[in-house]
C-alpha cells in the first residue's frame, strides 16, 4: 500500500476551507494567503499526480483507492485517475489557484465566506473528476452546486439572485433524473455495483428500452451542464452575474464536469443508445451542430462583453459534444479498426482537448473581462473604442486569448476543432460540413465584436484617457494561461498523449 495521494489532493482544499473558518473574519490578509496557499498545494499535488499518471502509461486507472463506505449497498469510497481525469484535476487546481490569487485584490466583502466557499467548490470539483463510484460521483456533483450558488447569489452582479436560483434549479432538475438512473444501474448489474468501470463493463439495460431511458437520464444531466443547445439558457445569466473568478470556474471547470461525465459514464456504459441517437435518429449531432453554429450566431448579436463570452462557451462546448457523437457513430458503424479507430480516437481526443483548452482560454477571457470591468464599470461594447493605444498590454494579452478562442492554429484552441473535425468528417461528414461554419462566425464575433469595438478605432480621450493598463497581479494571473495557450498550440503532445492513452482504452473497451 502506498501513499494515498488522491485523497490528500482531494481533501487539501477542504482542510484549507476548514482552517479558514478558524481565522477571525477581520484578518483578511491571512485568509487570503491561506486560501491561495491551499489551492496552490493542491495544484502541486495535482501536478505530481499527472506526472505520475503519464509515467505509468495513462491508459489505465492509477493511484486507485478503494474502501468500502456503505457496505450494505456496496457503495465504495473509490478514487482513481487516468490520462483523462489527471489533466482535468490539474486544470481545476490551476484555475482555482489563479482565481483565488486574483480575488485577493478584487473581493473586499465577506472575504472569509468567499474563500471558504471557493475551497469547498474546488474540493467538490476535484471529487467529481476523481470519483470512480457512481454514488460518490453524484454526491460531489451535487455538493458543487451549493458553493457556486452562493458565489453567484452573494458576490454577483445586479440580477444575481435570479441567475443563482436559475442555475441551481436547472442543474438540479437534470441531476434528479441522473440519480434515478444511477440507482437503476445499480440494480441492473450483477453483483449490484456502483463502480463506474465495472458498471460500464456490465453494460446495464443492454438491449432493452430502458437503456434509452437511462441514457437520456444521464445525458440530459450532463448536457445541461455542458451546456448543449437547447439546455443552455441558464448559462448566460449565471456567467454574466457571477463574480469574475466565479465565471472563470464556471466556464473553466463546471462545464467540463458535464463533458467529462459523457466521456466517462455515458459513452462506455450506453454506447448502444448513444449511437442510436447519433445515427438512426440524429438528435445529438443536431444538438451539437446547433450549439456550434447557432451559439456562434447568438454571440454575434450580443452587446454585453461578458454575455458574449458566456455564449461563446455554448458554441465552443458544442465541439465536445460533436467529438463524442463521432465516437458513437464510429461505434455504431462498426468501424473501430486501423485508420478508422485512429480517426474516432482523434475526435474524442479533440473533445477532451477542448475541455482543457476551453478551460484555459475562456477562463482567461473571463479574467480579462473582469479586469476591464473593474476599471471601466461597463461591459457595453458600444461604449468602448480605440483602447489598444491606451492599454497596450491588455490589448496584447486579449489578442492572444481571443485568437486562441477563435481556434487560430498555433494556439491551443485549434487542436480541438481540428481533431474533432478530422473524426467527424470521416464518420458523419454532413455534420462536419455544417459545423465548420461556426469557425467563420467565431472569427467574426471575436474580431468584429470584441476586438474592433473595444480596441480599434479612435480613442475617446475624455472618457478613457485615464484608463490604466494591467497591474502586476493581473499579469501574473494571465501569464500562466497565455503561456499554456501558446505552448500547447505548438506542442500539444504532453496533454494529447495523456488524453489519447486514456481514450484509446475507453474506445477499445467498447463492447
Amino acid at each position: 500500500m502506498y501513499f494515498p495521494i488522491l485523497s490528500v489532493t482531494l481533501f487539501a482544499p477542504l482542510v484549507g476551507a476548514l482552517l479558514i473558518l478558524t481565522i477571525p473574519r477581520e484578518d483578511v490578509k491571512t485568509i487570503r494567503r491561506l486560501g491561495t496557499a491551499f489551492a496552490f498545494i493542491s495544484l502541486i499535488l495535482a501536478s505530481i499526480v499527472w506526472i505520475g499518471v503519464v509515467r505509468a502509461g495513462a491508459g489505465t486507472m492509477q493511484y486507485e483507492e478503494n474502501y468500502p463506505w456503505i457496505p450494505a449497498f456496496n457503495i465504495h469510497y473509490y478514487l482513481g485517475v487516468d490520462g483523462l481525469s489527471a489533466p482535468m484535476v490539474w486544470l481545476t487546481a490551476l484555475l482555482t489557484t489563479l482565481s483565488l490569487f486574483y480575488s485577493a485584490r478584487t473581493i473586499q466583502e465577506r472575504v472569509k465566506e468567499y474563500y471558504f466557499l471557493f475551497l469547498v467548490l474546488e474540493w467538490s470539483m476535484l471529487g467529481v473528476f476523481l470519483s470512480l463510484d457512481l454514488v460518490l460521483f453524484y454526491i460531489f456533483w451535487e455538493i458543487e452546486l451549493v458553493p457556486m450558488f452562493l458565489l453567484i447569489g452573494v458576490w454577483g452582479g445586479k440580477n444575481r439572485l435570479y441567475a443563482a436560483i436559475k442555475f441551481f434549479l436547472y442543474t438540479m432538475v437534470g441531476s434528479v433524473a441522473m440519480l434515478l438512473a444511477i440507482i437503476g444501474v445499480y440494480f441492473q448489474t450483477d453483483p449490484h455495483t456502483f463502480n463506474i468501470l465495472e458498471a460500464a463493463a456490465a453494460q446495464p439495460f443492454r438491449g432493452t428500452v430502458w437503456a434509452n431511458v437511462a441514457f437520456w437520464a444521464f445525458f440530459i444531466a450532463f448536457a445541461i451542464k455542458v451546456p448543449a443547445f437547447p439546455f443552455h439558457t441558464w448559462l448566460p445569466d449565471a456567467h454574466t452575474e457571477a463574480p469574475t473568478a466565479g465565471s472563470v470556474i464556471l466556464a473553466g471547470i463546471l462545464l467540463k464536469l458535464g463533458a467529462y461525465g459523457i466521456i466517462r459514464i455515458v459513452l462506455p456504459m450506453f454506447p448502444e443508445p448513444f449511437k442510436y441517437f447519433v445515427l438512426d435518429s440524429p438528435i445529438i449531432p443536431v444538438m451539437a451542430i446547433a450549439s456550434i453554429v447557432y451559439g456562434a450566431l447568438v454571440c454575434m448579436a450580443q452587446w454585453d462583453l461578458k454575455r458574449l463570452i458566456a455564449y461563446s462557451s455554448v458554441a465552443h462546448m458544442g465541439y465536445v459534444t460533436l467529438g463524442l457523437c463521432t465516437a458513437a457513430a464510429a461505434y455504431g458503424l462498426g468501424r473501430l479498426e486501423g485508420v478508422d479507430f485512429n480517426a474516432a480516437a482523434s475526435a474524442v481526443n479533440g473533445a477532451a482537448f477542448q475541455m482543457f483548452a476551453h478551460g484555459i482560454i475562456t477562463g482567461g477571457l473571463f479574467f480579462l473581462v473582469g479586469i476591464i470591468y473593474e476599471r471601466a464599470h461597463t461591459r457595453d461594447l458600444k461604449a468602448f473604442g480605440g483602447l489598444a493605444s491606451q492599454i497596450p498590454y491588455y490589448y496584447g494579452i486579449m489578442m492572444v486569448t481571443g485568437f486562441a478562442s477563435l481556434g487560430l492554429p498555433g494556439l491551443a484552441g485549434f487542436w480541438s476543432e481540428f481533431f474533432v473535425f478530422r473524426g467527424t468528417v470521416h464518420f458523419i461528414p454532413l455534420a462536419a460540413f455544417i459545423g465548420v461554419l461556426g469557425v467563420v462566425f467565431t472569427a467574426a464575433y471575436i474580431l468584429w465584436k470584441v476586438v474592433q469595438h473595444v480596441f480599434l478605432g479612435e480613442l475617446d480621450k475624455e472618457r478613457w484617457g485615464k484608463l490604466t493598463d494591467m497591474e502586476w497581479w493581473e499579469k501574473v494571473t494571465m501569464w500562466p494561461l497565455v503561456f499554456i495557450m501558446v505552448f500547447l498550440g505548438f506542442y500539444p503532445a504532453p496533454l494529447l498523449d495523456s488524453f489519447n492513452a486514456a481514450i484509446t482504452t475507453i474506445l477499445q473497451n467498447l463492447p
Binding site: L19, T22, V298, V339, L408, F433, Y491
Partner: protein, 822 residues
C-alpha cells in the same frame, strides 16, 4: 528518400526560429528601443536568409545534382498522437521547398530593410508603433518560412493561418485611421474583411485536411504522396466522385481564399490599407503566393483527381478559376486610380495566371512564375511605396513648410484629420515624378516591364512565356484567355508608368516630392537586379530550336525546369506509375514559336497602346482619364464605372452574405433569449414557463397541504393531546428528574474542569478541532504506513506533543483572561 540525416539540411529547423525569436524579444524586452527593435528583426531574418542561401539551398542543389532527385526528410520528433498512430514533426526539403527557401528570406530581408526608411526611422514622423511593426513582420516571416520547411500539411496549415493573422494585424496597423469619405474602407475594416474572407477559404482547406488525415492517418508528405496512398484515394468513392478529387478541390478552396481568386478576391484590393512594405511582402510576394504554393505542394493529389469534376467547357475547374481571375482582375486594374490598387489587381491577375498554369498541369511553369512574380511584384510595390512616401513628404513640405514645428506628432502623413484630406496614393495627383525620383523610377520601370513581359531581358517574360507555351499545347481556350490578359496587363502597366512618372506634376505635392532615403532605394535596386536575372534560370533549353546546353557547354541551361520538375518524381519515389484516369499531365513539347510570338505580340501591343494613350501626351491636372473619356463617348461610361468599382462585388457580398449573417444572428438571439431586460426568447421562455408551472403546482400543493393535510394532522394532534393528559404526571416526576441530574453533572464538570481552555471565541474552538482532526488523520496514516518498530516511540512522542500543546494553550488563555480582568 535519403535516410541519412544531413547536417546542413537540418539547419532548416533554425530558419523560422530566428525571426520568431525576434518576434518574442521585441514586445517582451526592447519595445521602447526602436533601433534595437528593428536591428533584432533584421538580424533575425538576415540569419535565416544566410542559413538558407549559404547552407540549405546550396546543399539541396548539390544533393539533387548528385542523385538526380531530392526529397529529404529529417529525423522526426514526436508531436501528435491519435489512437495507435503517432505523428512526427520534421524538416522536408525537396526542390519546390528549396526554391521557396531561396526566394522568401531574400525578399523578406529586402523588405525589412526598406521598412526602416518607410516607417520614418530617425525622423520626427516616425510611426508611434514602430517596434510593433517589426515584431509583426518578424512573426510573418516565421509563418512563411515555417510553412515551407516542415514535413507535413498540418504545419503548412498552422503557419498559413499565422500568416493570415499577421496579415490581419498589419492591414489594420493604423487601426485608428478614419477617412472623411465614409464609403472608403478603413484599415481596421479592411483587416477584418481580409481575415474573414480568407477564413472562408480556409474552412475548405481545413475540411480537406481533416478528410485527408482521417483517410490516410497521416499528413506527412511522405505518406500522402505515396503512390499507393494516391491510388487508394483515387479509388475511394466519395460524394459522387472519388476521395482524391474532393480533397484536392477542398484544398484548392484554401488557395482561392489566400491567393484571392474569384470569387474570394474581394479582400486583396482593400488589404492595400496596410503600410506599403506589408503590401509588398504579404499581399504580393509571399503570403498570397502561398496559395499557389499549396497547389504546387499538393500537386500529386491534383494529378490523380478527376479533372472533369466542376469543369466547364473542357477547362478543368482549377484552370477555369485561374484563367477567369487572370482576365477579370486585369480588366479591373485598368480603371484603378490608386497606385497600389492597380498593383493589387495586377497581383490577383498574376496569381490567376499561376493557378491557371497549375490547373492545366503546367507544374513547373506555375512555380517559375511564382518565383519571378515575387521578385518583380515586391519591387513594384516597394517602388510605389517610395512614390507614396515621396508624395507624403511633398505634401507635408507644402503644408508645413518643412519638417519643423511638427515634432512629436507622429506619423503625420498617415493620419486623415488634416486640413483637407490629401490622398497620396492617387495617381491623378502625381505626374512628372520620373525626374524627381530617378532611382525609384528606374526600379518601377524594370518592375513594370517584367510584369508586362517585355521580351528577352525581363524575368516576367520567361515565366509567362512558359505558361503560355504550356497552355498552347494543353488547352487552347485557356491560352487565349491568358494571352488577352497579358495584353491587358501590359496596357495598365504602361498607363500606370505614364500617369505616375511622365509629364508634369499635377499637384503641389508631386512638385515637391523628394527621392527616398537610400535604405529604401537600395533594396529596390537589388530587387530590380533579381527581377531581370531570375528569369535566366528558366530559359528553355531548346529555344530558337538551338540545343542551347550543347551549344553553350552548360549542363543545365533550363536549370529551373529540371530542378523543380524533379519534385514530382521524387515524391512518387521515382516510379511514376499511377493507374488512374483523367489526371493532369504536363504537356511534353518541343519549342514552339507560335505561343511565344502571340504572347509577345499581345504584350508589346498593350505596352504600345498604353504609351500612345497616356504617354505621348501626358495627362494634365484636372483632366479626365483618357480611357474613361473615350468609353463615355462610346456610351460605355457605365462599364468604366463598373470596372472602377470592382464590378460591385463588395456591394453584392455586403448586401447578401454579410447582411444575411447579421440578420440571422439577430434572429437567433431573439429566438434564444434576447437582450431586453425582463424578456425571454423562445428557448429561454420555455425554461421560464417551466419555472412558472412549478410555482403554480407548488401553490396548489400548498393549499392542499394547509387545508387537507394539516387538517388531518391537527385532528390527530387533538386526539393525541387527550391521551397525553393521562401521561403528564409520569413525565414530570420521572423523566425530568433524570434529565436534570445529567445537566447538573455536566455543569459541574464544565465549571470546574474545562473553564481554563474556554476563551469564548468560536475560532479558537474550531482551531482546536481542526488541529485535533489533523493529528488524528496523521496518526491514522502513521499507524497504517509506518513499520511497527517505529510506531511506539512516535506515538508516545506525539502524545507528549499534544499534551504539551494543550498545556501551552491553557496557560496562554489563562494569561489572556487575567490580562482582561486586570
Amino acid at each position: 528518400m535519403h535516410t541519412q540525416s544531413d547536417f546542413l539540411l537540418n539547419l532548416a529547423w533554425l530558419i523560422p526560429l530566428f525571426p520568431f525569436l525576434a518576434f518574442v524579444a521585441i514586445p517582451l524586452g526592447v519595445y521602447h528601443n526602436r533601433k534595437l527593435s528593428h536591428s533584432l528583426a533584421i538580424g533575425g531574418i538576415a540569419i535565416a536568409c544566410a542559413l538558407s542561401l549559404f547552407f540549405v539551398f546550396p546543399r539541396a542543389v548539390w544533393l539533387w545534382a548528385r542523385d538526380g532527385r531530392l526529397a529529404y526528410e529529417s529525423p522526426l520528433i514526436h508531436w501528435l498522437s491519435a489512437g495507435h498512430e503517432r505523428f512526427g514533426l520534421g524538416i522536408y526539403i525537396d526542390p519546390a521547398t528549396a526554391i521557396m527557401l531561396f526566394m522568401v528570406p531574400l525578399v523578406c530581408l529586402m523588405i525589412f530593410i526598406y521598412s526602416v526608411g518607410y516607417m520614418n526611422f530617425g525622423t520626427p514622423q516616425v510611426d508611434p508603433r514602430y517596434s510593433r511593426f517589426f515584431a509583426y513582420i518578424s512573426l510573418f516571416a516565421t509563418g512563411m518560412l515555417g510553412m515551407v520547411v516542415f514535413n507535413n500539411l498540418l504545419t503548412f496549415f498552422i503557419f498559413w493561418e499565422i500568416m493570415g493573422t499577421c496579415s490581419y494585424l498589419l492591414i489594420g496597423f493604423w487601426y485608428e485611421k478614419n477617412y472623411p469619405d465614409p464609403k472608403k474602407i478603413t484599415p481596421r475594416q479592411a483587416g477584418l474583411k481580409a481575415f474573414i474572407v480568407t477564413k472562408i477559404g480556409d474552412l475548405f482547406f481545413m475540411l480537406g485536411l481533416a478528410l485527408l488525415y482521417a483517410e490516410v492517418g497521416s499528413l506527412a508528405y511522405r505518406d500522402i504522396f505515396d503512390p499507393k496512398t494516391l491510388e487508394h484515394l483515387a479509388h475511394t468513392p466519395f460524394l459522387g466522385t472519388n476521395m482524391a478529387t474532393v480533397i484536392a478541390l477542398l484544398l484548392f478552396g484554401g488557395t482561392v481564399g489566400k491567393s484571392a481568386q474569384f470569387p474570394l478576391h474581394v479582400w486583396l484590393p482593400d488589404a492595400m490599407e496596410g503600410p506599403t512594405p506589408v503590401s509588398a511582402l504579404i499581399h504580393a510576394a509571399t503570403m498570397v503566393s502561398a496559395g499557389v504554393f499549396l497547389v504546387v505542394r499538393t500537386f500529386p493529389l491534383l494529378q490523380v483527381a478527376d479533372s472533369s469534376v466542376l469543369a466547364l467547357g473542357g477547362i478543368p475547374f482549377v484552370a477555369l478559376i485561374g484563367a477567369f481571375t487572370a482576365i477579370f482582375a486585369s480588366v479591373m486594374a485598368i480603371a484603378q486610380d490608386d497606385v497600389k490598387g492597380v498593383l493589387a489587381f495586377s497581383t490577383i491577375s498574376q496569381l490567376g495566371y499561376m493557378v491557371a498554369a497549375l490547373g492545366i498541369g503546367a507544374y513547373v511553369a506555375g512555380a517559375f512564375h511564382l518565383i519571378t512574380h515575387a521578385f518583380f511584384k515586391a519591387l513594384l510595390f516597394l517602388s510605389s511605396g517610395s512614390v507614396i512616401h515621396g508624395m507624403e513628404h511633398g505634401h507635408h513640405h507644402v503644408h508645413h513648410g518643412g519638417h519643423e514645428g511638427h515634432k512629436g506628432e507622429g506619423h503625420a502623413g498617415h493620419e486623415g484629420h488634416q486640413e483637407k484630406w490629401f490622398n497620396p496614393n492617387d495617381m491623378m495627383n502625381m505626374g512628372g515624378l520620373g525626374k524627381r525620383m530617378p532611382r525609384t523610377f528606374l526600379a518601377f520601370l524594370i518592375g513594370g516591364l517584367a510584369l508586362a513581359g517585355f521580351p528577352i531581358i525581363t524575368a516576367g517574360f520567361w515565366s509567362k512565356d512558359e505558361i503560355l507555351a504550356q497552355a498552347w499545347s494543353g488547352n487552347q481556350v485557356v491560352f487565349w484567355i491568358l494571352a488577352v490578359a497579358a495584353g491587358l496587363t501590359a496596357f495598365y502597366t504602361a498607363r500606370q508608368l505614364c500617369l505616375t512618372f511622365a509629364g508634369e506634376p499635377r499637384t503641389e505635392a508631386a512638385k515637391h516630392a523628394p527621392e527616398s532615403v537610400s535604405s529604401m532605394t537600395t533594396p529596390l535596386l537589388i530587387l530590380a537586379a533579381f527581377a531581370i536575372c531570375i528569369g535566366w534560370v528558366g530559359i528553355p533549353d531548346n529555344v530558337f530550336n538551338l540545343d542551347l546546353p550543347h551549344a553553350l557547354g552548360v549542363k543545365y541551361i533550363n536549370w529551373f525546369h529540371h530542378f523543380v520538375g524533379s519534385t514530382l518524381e521524387a515524391a512518387h519515389g521515382g516510379e511514376h506509375s499511377l493507374r488512374v484516369t483523367g489526371h493532369l499531365a504536363e504537356a511534353v513539347h518541343g519549342f514552339d514559336w507560335a505561343p511565344m510570338l502571340i504572347g509577345t505580340g499581345f504584350g508589346l501591343t498593350g505596352l504600345l497602346l498604353g504609351y500612345l494613350v497616356y504617354g505621348l501626351k501626358p495627362l494634365r491636372a484636372g483632366e479626365m482619364d483618357r480611357l474613361e473619356a473615350a468609353m463615355r463617348k462610346l456610351y460605355l461610361g457605365w462599364l468604366y464605372k463598373a470596372m472602377e468599382n470592382r464590378f460591385y462585388f463588395d456591394w453584392l457580398y455586403r448586401n447578401t452574405f454579410v447582411w444575411a449573417s447579421l440578420r440571422l444572428a439577430e434572429v437567433c438571439d431573439w429566438f434564444d433569449y434576447g437582450q431586453t431586460p425582463g424578456k425571454h426568447g423562445v428557448v429561454d421562455g420555455i425554461v421560464v414557463a417551466c419555472g412558472w408551472l412549478g410555482r403554480l403546482l407548488s401553490t396548489v400543493f400548498n393549499w392542499f397541504d394547509l387545508y387537507i393535510v394539516d387538517g388531518l394532522v391537527n385532528l390527530v394532534g387533538r386526539l393525541g393531546r387527550l391521551l397525553s393528559v393521562g401521561l403528564d404526571i409520569f413525565d414530570l416526576q420521572v423523566v425530568d428528574g433524570i434529565v436534570n441530574g445529567i445537566g447538573a453533572a455536566l455543569k459541574f464538570i464544565g465549571r470546574e474542569m474545562l473553564r481554563p481552555i474556554q476563551s469564548g471565541r468560536v475560532q479558537f474552538y474550531l482551531l482546536v478541532a481542526a488541529i485535533t482532526a489533523l493529528v488524528l488523520v496523521a496518526a491514522l496514516f502513521i499507524t497504517l504506513y509506518l513499520p511497527e518498530h517505529l510506531l511506539q516511540p512516535l506515538l508516545l512522542g506525539l502524545l507528549a506533543l499534544v499534551i504539551l500543546l494543550a498545556f501551552y494553550f491553557i496557560l496562554q488563555s489563562r494569561k489572556t483572561e487575567t490580562d482582561k480582568t486586570e
